[in-house]
Subunit: 149 residues, 2 copies
DNA sequence: TCTTAATTGCAACTTAGTTGCAAACACAGA
DNA sequence: TCTGTGTTTGCAACTAAGTTGCAATTAAGA
């Protein structure tokens, strides 16, 4: 499990141990991807990760592959935040599955915020309204405070 | 305003009058796009519209342009349903702006359902939790009843 | 019917992401 | 610490989705 709490606090050693725990080799590319995701406050697009790591000499195909592998290993969730771009987010320590909190995305500036600390409740307006399935992920779109003013 | 209710019931004449109302020329391509969206029960991806109309000889660039123009004219909404693909939905008669209801998308089969009749409530777990902005659109993802069983 | 601006089809282009493969590397075992 | 082996990487070429410029065509008002 990933030690420590706040984003941007993941050390080289803890990144390595995270990889070893899931049986993946510790390579520079994977560690860079993990640290890049960790340093970001919000979920990152694959393109964003590529941009941030290409300048250090990593190849885009390596980064795409790393993201996919980390996702398959359960270290990273792939979010679909509704702007026609996938995003990746490093899973927090205690989390063992999908990202549990809702996400908010500003339709003006594109900023994505994790709404940890919020629960979502869906209320049918009539008695007979029935949810179409089992809810697993919620995305709220709208105008963030900065853009709304 | 678009007359008549159920999907798949939009006649050639009503498609034409819808276009004239917003000051657009009535062309075969636009009518085909409107009828294609109308015939679908769920929002369509641009690729889906292209596939369904290419076989009738329409060019993909024409279809993309038509979708964009119809969206700008307010006849069609562009939805971002979180599967990294944009979708287009013909606006119902009474609707004059954005799609107001939440949408549900099944992560297994990709089915999209309009959750008309549902309200969404966001509850902060603590007193000081503050929503990051003004909510305008909600997407719920999960497993639909068919796939969950 | 004629005129003209709007629209279309084509082809070339852009961008995001994927794939095959040889070279480089991590790491378990000696 | 060194070595062998299977994993991972970088490269380059490729695919798919969507966009753009432009000449030819067409809708619709005069």
């Amino acid at each position: 499990m990933i030690k420590g709490g706040k984003p941007g606090r993941l050390t080289l050693e803890s990144a390595k141990s995270v990889l070893r725990e899931v049986g993946m080799r510790c390579t520079a590319a994977r560690i860079a991807v993990i640290q890049s995701l960790d340093a970001a406050r919000a979920p990152m697009t694959p393109g964003g990760v590529v941009d941030s790591l290409c300048e250090y000499g990593f190849d885009k195909s390596t980064i795409y592959r790393s993201l996919t592998e980390l996702n398959e290993a359960g270290l990273v969730v792939r979010l679909d935040l509704g702007d026609a771009v996938r995003r990746f987010e490093l899973l927090p320590p205690e989390n063992d599955g999908a990202s549990e909190h809702p996400h908010f995305m500003c339709v003006d500036c594109g900023k994505v915020v994790c709404m940890s600390g919020f629960d979502v409740e869906l209320k049918g307006r009539s008695r007979k309204a029935r949810a179409p399935g089992i809810m697993s992920e919620v995305l709220v779109r709208g105008h963030c405070h900065d853009c709304a003013t």
